[in-house]
Each structure stands twice: as structure tokens, then as C-alpha cells.
């Protein structure tokens, strides 16, 4: 599956993620990349909402990883990871990410995933999501592969 989606604004980015996650069955890892302010966290909010999580999810930059429990028939954990402050995948194994990567009842979203490429090989289904700036300030191109 390879897709290129144009996003006009934040709401588009959110809805793209919601639609994208609707087909998930558990065990997926979403590896996000894009510069500061690209909309990675908004995309993750969309993933959480699409899985049925109703409350607000906030940036995990400080604690590196946050685990949410969405209201979904199969997917019980949504793990939101941020590698912004991380240099190597060892740091994430240390806080227990490895436990979540192989689980069928879990979806993991990793921001700044390019920093921890070796971790991704442990996962069964990895989607790469690249968010790039478009012409206008708010415009983005979302590439999913």
C-alpha cells in the first residue's frame, strides 16, 4: 500500500489518520517522520480518535511514551511514543516499548521514528507516514507506505 494524500489543514490531517486507522486490526506500528510542527502529534490524535479514544491525548515528548486504552473491540492499547529527545532505540527498550511492539491488541505510533529504525524490525506490520510541508503554511503532503 502506497498513498499520497494532500492535507489542506490540521483538520484534514486528523481525518486522514482517522480514516487510515479504521482498517487496523491490531499489531500495527505507525512510524511517523516530519519536521517540528509538521503535524505528527495531530496525526496521532487522529489515530487515537479513530480507535475510539475519546479523551485528549497530549505530547509525549517529556515522558517519551504514553499508553492509552481506547474503546475498541480488539485494540486495547494505543501507545504514543516520541523519539524527539531520544538518540537510540536502547532508550525506548529501557522504558518498556519492546513489550508493546509485538502485541496483537496494541497499536503503536512513533514520532521521529527515523531515529529508532532498528526497533521497527521487531514489529509485524509497519506503516511509514511522512508528513511534508506544502506550498501554503497549513498545507501538507502525507505519504503512507
Amino acid at each position: 500500500m502506497e498513498k499520497k494524500i494532500k492535507s489542506r489543514n490540521e483538520a484534514d490531517t486528523l481525518n486522514t489518520a482517522k480514516k487510515f486507522v479504521a482498517e487496523f486490526t491490531g499489531g500495527e506500528v505507525v512510524a511517523l517522520s516530519g519536521e517540528l510542527g509538521a503535524g505528527k502529534t495531530i496525526f496521532c490524535k487522529g489515530l487515537a480518535q479513530g480507535l475510539g479514544y475519546k479523551k485528549v491525548i497530549t505530547s509525549p515528548t517529556f515522558v517519551l511514551m504514553k499508553v492509552y486504552h481506547p474503546d475498541h473491540p480488539v485494540i486495547k492499547n494505543f501507545v504514543h511514543v516520541d523519539c524527539y529527545r531520544v538518540d537510540s532505540s536502547d532508550d525506548l527498550s529501557g522504558i518498556g516499548l519492546g513489550d508493546y511492539l509485538k502485541r496483537n491488541d496494541t497499536v503503536v505510533a512513533i514520532e521521529w521514528a527515523e531515529k529508532v529504525k532498528d526497533l521497527l524490525s521487531q514489529a509485524r506490520k509497519v506503516y511509514k507516514v511522512k508528513i511534508k510541508s506544502g506550498k501554503g503554511d497549513l498545507e501538507r503532503t502525507i505519504e503512507i507506505s
Binding site: T58, V86, I95
Partner: protein, 347 residues
């Protein structure tokens, strides 16, 4: 009551000894080992490095604070249980559990944020824990990981009015500093550069400033700064100063406006500030002005208590202990069996 307090939620290891008798708080000993310079080279805290450093320093720190006192003189052990990095939290918690088991002392897990909440009381001659006339108080807790506004009704009784919906205020400072290549941590550098800036040149958005809710959003502000930087062919030193002052002003405006509205809506008698961003001079200054205009008191922690420290954990542990029923207090006696880190703990 004498409390031994331990904090290790992020990159500071800290141990304090407090004595609270008849509402009088006496900070007997306090030590902190900061890892800030260790992590600066990485541009942020590295969990494995942090955990190893905590392990290295915690015993010498404990020895400095409690090495010479007799165990019988300690009444309670307080330790941060979360939120924070799990690998860092574990070091403090396991140490506290071991001491509680060997010494047979009650052990209380403390929410790190409640530590920041009560930090204005530390070493403050105008504010002691017998005072009731400051309630209800509007409290802002602003740090790298948190931005919350609370209504404190009494000691141990609060309601969250709002929080950030995306990035914390301190995180926005760090990320804007990164966009401008100013180094880590970003807050102090941005406020330094802001002093030479002209706030009339640029105008960044104040996200959610007029929204009815007390929630915050700082992600969009960070992105607005990025757009502005991208539009410039090059940035002079003066441009960077101007970006810093306007960005800082946008954050300060949102925080003070919401605090002011909460004071009016809830008829509060004071404004309190806590957390790492409480070190920001402009924020302190504008909250003082706001409080003065509203004719309410303003209290913020002394600079040494804006960052993470164990003294605030000791005080928060004491206040939490006071609100417990006798049965719950009894349960603390063998809490060393149960206490676990809570990395995502909320207030």
C-alpha cells in the same frame, strides 16, 4: 513529624529532610544532584544515562542527609511515584521501599505535580501551612511536561480547571529554542534573548486565549514560529531576540489571561505558580501585576524550588498524609510491598 523525601522522576536526584510540627515547616537538610549538563550534549534527557546516574548518586545523597540521624527520628518516607520517566522513577522508589522495609517506616507515594503545587510554601515567610485565607487559590503548574491550571480549595483538595491539549509550555520553549539553534534547555536562553528584543515587531498567535475553556494549546504557537523562521531568508541576532520576546509574550499572555479569568470566576483569594517555567522572570512579573490589579495575593517558589526537588515532595507527602483516614495511614506501614512507579500519573 519528620519526613525523609526522595525525588528522581527525571534528571535530578534529590533527598530532603523536613520537620513539620504544629504547622511550622523546617527544612533540615536538602541535597540535589542535577544531571542537566550531562544531558545538554544530547539536547534532552536520555533515560538510560539518567537512570545510571540516579543509581550512582542516590546513596551518597542519602548518606549526606540522613547518615547521622537515628532511624527512630524519622516518621514518614515520601517518594515521587509519578509522573516521570519510568527508569528514573524506579531508582527513587526502590530505594525508598528498601528503607521503609528495613526501618519499618510508613511509605507514601507522592504525585510529582502536587509537589510543584505546594512549592510556593517552601522557605516563604509570607506563606505557611496554617494559612487558610489564601483559599480558594488559582494555581498554575507550568513545566517541560505539564501545563495545568487548578483551583485549590484547601490543603489536599483541588479541582483541575484546564490543561494543555498538546504541548506543555516548557516543551514549547525547548522546541522553539531548537528551531532557533539556542541549545537545551531552551527556557533560560529564550528569556535571556527576549530581554534584548522588541515585542512590537512580531505578533504570534495566543492559542485558545479567548476560548471559554481553561485548556491550553502551545503546539500551534510553536508551528507559527516555525513558519515565521521559514519565511526569513536569514535571521540576524536582532531577529532572534525579537522572535524570543514575542514568543515568550504569547505564552505569558495566555497563562496570565486564564489565571485572571479563573480568579474572577471562582472568587479566588490568591494566584500560585509552580514548575520549571516558574523560573521565567517575565511570567512572574506579569502574574504579580495581574494579582496586584485583582487585589489578590501572588506566591511563587524561590528559584531553587522551581526545578525538581525533594523538599516539595516531602511537603506534598505531609499534606497528603494529613488527609488520610487512620485505616489508610495504617496501610502505609507495609506500602513497600505495593508501591510501583506511575509514569503517566495525572493530578
Amino acid at each position: 513529624m519528620r519526613i525523609l523525601a526522595i525525588e528522581s522522576s527525571c534528571d535530578e536526584t534529590a533527598v530532603s529532610l523536613l520537620n513539620i510540627t504544629d504547622g511550622k515547616l523546617n527544612i533540615e537538610k536538602k541535597v540535589i544532584a542535577s544531571q542537566a549538563s550531562l544531558h545538554a550534549q544530547y539536547g534532552g534527557v536520555v533515560p538510560e544515562v539518567a537512570a545510571r546516574k540516579h543509581v550512582e548518586v542516590i546513596i551518597p545523597l542519602l548518606d549526606k542527609v540522613a547518615g547521622k540521624i537515628s532511624v527512630a527520628e524519622i516518621d514518614l518516607i515520601a517518594v515521587t511515584e509519578g509522573p516521570g520517566l519510568v527508569t528514573s522513577l524506579l531508582v527513587g522508589i526502590e530505594t525508598a521501599k528498601t528503607l521503609a522495609y528495613i526501618w519499618q517506616k510508613p511509605l507514601i507515594g507522592v504525585n510529582h505535580l502536587s509537589g510543584h503545587l505546594y512549592s510556593p510554601w517552601l522557605d516563604n515567610e509570607h506563606l505557611d501551612i496554617t494559612r487558610q485565607d489564601i483559599f480558594p487559590a488559582v494555581s498554575l503548574i507550568v513545566s517541560g511536561g505539564h501545563t495545568e491550571i487548578l483551583l485549590l480549595k484547601d490543603y489536599g483538595s483541588y479541582k483541575i480547571l484546564g490543561r494543555t491539549r498538546d504541548d506543555a509550555a516548557g516543551e514549547a520553549f525547548d522546541k522553539v529554542a531548537k528551531l532557533l539553534d539556542l541549545g537545551y534547555p531552551g527556557g533560560p536562553e529564550i528569556s535571556k534573548r527576549a530581554m534584548n528584543g522588541d515585542k512590537k515587531v512580531l505578533d504570534f498567535p495566543r492559542p485558545m486565549i479567548d476560548a471559554k475553556s481553561y485548556d491550553f494549546s502551545f503546539s500551534g504557537l510553536k508551528t507559527a514560529v516555525r513558519y515565521h523562521i521559514n519565511e526569513q531568508p536569514m535571521l540576524s541576532e536582532k531577529d532572534i531576540d525579537n522572535i524570543c520576546v514575542s514568543f515568550q509574550q504569547a505564552v505569558v499572555d495566555v497563562l496570565t489571561t486564564k489565571a485572571e479569568r479563573a480568579v474572577k470566576e471562582y472568587g479566588a483569594n490568591s494566584i500560585l505558580l509552580g514548575g520549571g517555567v516558574a523560573a521565567n522572570k517575565e511570567l512572574r512579573k506579569q502574574l504579580i501585576i495581574t494579582a496586584d490589579r485583582l487585589n489578590v495575593e501572588f506566591h511563587c517558589p524561590a528559584l531553587e524550588y522551581t526545578g525538581d526537588n525533594a523538599t516539595m515532595i516531602g511537603l506534598a507527602g505531609y499534606i497528603a498524609y494529613q488527609t488520610l483516614s487512620p485505616v489508610s495511614r495504617l496501610k502505609l506501614e507495609d506500602n513497600w510491598r505495593r508501591l510501583e512507579p506511575q509514569p503517566n500519573l495525572g493530578l
